[in-house]
Amino acid sequence: MDFNDNREEAALRARVRAWIAENAAEYEGLPPAKTPEEYVARQRGWQKKKYGGGYAGITWPKKFGGQGRAPMEAIIFSQEESRSAAPTGLYDIGLGMCIPTVFTHGSPDVIQRFVRRALEGDEIWCQLFSEPSAGSDLAGIRAKAVRDGTDWIVNGQKVWTTNAHLCDYGIIITRTDAGAPKHKGLTMFIVDMHAEGVECRPLKQMSGASDFNEVFFDDVRIPDAWRLGAEGEGWQVALTTLMNERLAVGGKPRNSPDWSMLMRVAAITETARGPAVHQADVRERIAQAYINDRGVALTQQRALSALSQGKTPGPEQSIAKLVVARQMQEISRFALDLSESAGFLTGEDGSDLARLQDSYFWAAGLRIAGGTDEILRNIIAERVLGLPGDLRPPKDTPFNEVQPL
């Protein structure tokens, strides 16, 4: 066992670190971008540098413009990148989920048209899957695509689309045959987000912030050449995308409260029995938080180790979001409770209390996003432990004849 890099890893890390230090220097100490344009420009600038330096698409096949290298190299790059001031995030969904779907299921022309431009940062992508009535049950898609000559006409609504308003293209899953069984009548397309009939609206969360969009499609035209996979095979295509999502879903959101923050808040808080940090119940929560936070981080180390050894990580990874989201809600509420009525006052941005308040709201969403607590437990029990699936209504009923039970 060894937590340190091996020789090759260390050499790579040194190289990467030097490159990042040189290239990301210009972003240090910058204030947050003031406009969406400035935000996009920074992100695009950095993506282009990565492309130029040979650090874009590190694990992608060379024929798609990638570097064809091992996952560990991508991980080391991203670890170092996240320690720097480099502006990242805008390309994560496009390059992490959309484009791999494009190069797995798209025609050679489509690959030629889209992949390299995305990798170079020229075009930004989003993923258009969730709908108001297709959340956990993603195959319940209702957005319709109807064939019209060599085009398709799309109508419907998508939700929870990250950065839709900044994107150039998206991958969209639609129902093309309502008479087929639920999972059989779906088809995936590339859609031009600037096309006529596409409207993005910010989706306001209960916290008041808007981190996502709703996207409405009103007679939007898509050429059949932009279809990904065969007609009616959209569900299989979506599974490719989602597999990449599972790998991408990380652990704890950066800056979310952890055991040390609870310890800090408890140190300055009085209870009826003296300082909070001396109280056994508070200490118990700190211990629990450490076990959860650090346990998830160590579990991720196990997965990285497997990657580093050229193995496929085991199913351990699947526990991360389940543990993290719940923990975030518990610890935020507990710390806010400790702070009594002070934890109820808002408006002091940047304070520990403000972070706890944000987390208390954010955690409620994190318990739902990317697989609810309940769906994740099902996945763990069924895929890892081999328990049978929930009893479900027959799968072969035509979608438009399904009677909810």
Binding site: D137, R273, E340, F344, A364, I368
Partner: protein, 368 residues
């Protein structure tokens, strides 16, 4: 034996409920949410006053109905259920402070206005830092008046008079402060609850009159705990109903999500926590009404159990709703936020569970 509310009290509750069902609820809350000023609903307030809800506890000699604890507990439950954006709970708490600790002169001065709805009262103990309701406040008598700061105080921006905790010899005690004076400056503050108005009261030598000593304050705190427990149960019941209704209708994977045990058992847990809270709150109502020595422990148990039920239900209501529950447009946020307000309003569950154990130790010592 009869461990239940009287028919008369239940009838009054039903009346209040009909009123709130028609006038209040999430839609009324959303009107306030969308109003930058967070102005309270004066029309609804008139209706409440007309129903006699502010007059309930006021003795007949002061123009009220002179009713007991039972009625006011059930009205608190309805206030909680309805999310009513009016200063009803604050005024009820202020009334109890007056009844527990006020002088005859104070009664004479303030109770008639409460009964006829012209006086809005409030109660404040927090001072903007992490602090317990029974901790010694910084606010004290100096410069011939009160000096200090009380925040957050529910409904302070629209209240005429406040009962505030002030440093006494051996703990906090209550002072009555007429807010119509320059030395008691009130401004609105932002809090997690976006429907109920909160304020900061800055006291700079404000004229104030004592209302009882530390032990009277402690009695008041217990009675306030009983009332806010009923309020919390009402809010919890509304959130549970929202969750259950959605689980009966929403379909995923071809079946209504209420069929899934994960959802169903969450709902059952909401109910179990609710029923424990109700049992303790009723015990509290009885002890309040009977002036029983069990009041301290009953109130603490009621408050702890009701906060547990409300917190769990508010959080899992969002979870049962899934993505939609996490949006601004969903009503889930009202309960999620109100749960924080109720916790912050009178000390969190940790404070009350500790108070409960102290009361149990006390009783053990007495019976030993």
């Amino acid at each position: 034996m009869n461990f239940d509310f009287s028919e008369e009290a239940r009838e009054l509750q039903a009346q209040a409920r009909r009123f709130f069902d028609a006038e209040a609820g999430p839609d009324a809350a959303r009107r306030i949410l969308n109003d930058e000023e967070r102005a309270f609903d004066t029309e609804m307030w008139s209706g409440i006053v007309d129903l006699g809800l502010t007059a309930l506890r006021v003795p007949e000699v002061h123009g009220g109905l002179g009713l007991g604890a039972e009625e006011i507990c059930l009205i608190s439950e309805e206030a909680g259920r309805s999310l009513a954006p009016v200063p009803l709970m604050s005024t009820l708490l202020f009334t109890e402070a007056l009844l527990v600790a006020g002088t005859p002169q104070q009664h004479e001065r303030w109770l008639p206005g409460i009964a006829d709805g012209s006086v809005i009262g409030c109660f404040g103990w927090g001072e903007g830092r992490s602090q317990l309701p029974t901790a010694m406040p910084d606010t004290r008598m100096a410069k011939g008046g009160l000096v200090g700061m009380k925040v957050p105080v529910a409904d302070a921006p629209i209240a005429h008079v406040a009962a505030l905790t002030v440093a006494g010899d051996d703990g906090p005690r209550l002072y009555l402060v007429d807010l119509a004076q320059d030395a008691a400056a009130v401004e609105r503050v932002d809090v997690l609850d976006l429907v109920r108005l909160h304020g900061r009261i800055a006291l700079d030598g404000a004229r104030a009159e004592p209302m009882g000593g530390t032990s009277a304050f402690s009695d008041f705190l217990d009675k306030a705990a009983v009332l806010t427990s009923f309020e919390a149960i009402g809010t919890q019941d509304a959130a549970m109903t929202m969750a259950v209704t959605y689980a009966r209708e929403r379909v995923a994977f071809g079946q209504r999500i209420g069929r899934y045990q994960a959802v169903k058992h969450k709902a059952a847990d909401m109910y179990v926590k609710q029923q424990l809270a109700v049992a303790h709150a009723m015990h509290g109502a009885w002890a309040f009404a009977a002036d029983a020595p069990e009041l301290r422990q009953a109130a603490a148990a009621a408050r702890t159990a009701s906060l547990d039920a409300l917190t769990f239900t508010a959080e899992e209501n969002v979870q049962i709703h899934g993505g939609i529950g996490f949006t601004w447009e969903s009503d889930c946020q009202f309960y999620y936020r109100r749960a924080r307000a109720l916790s912050a309003g009178l000390g969190s569950r940790g404070f009350w569970s500790e108070r409960l154990v102290r009361a149990l130790e006390q009783r053990n010592a007495e019976t030993a």
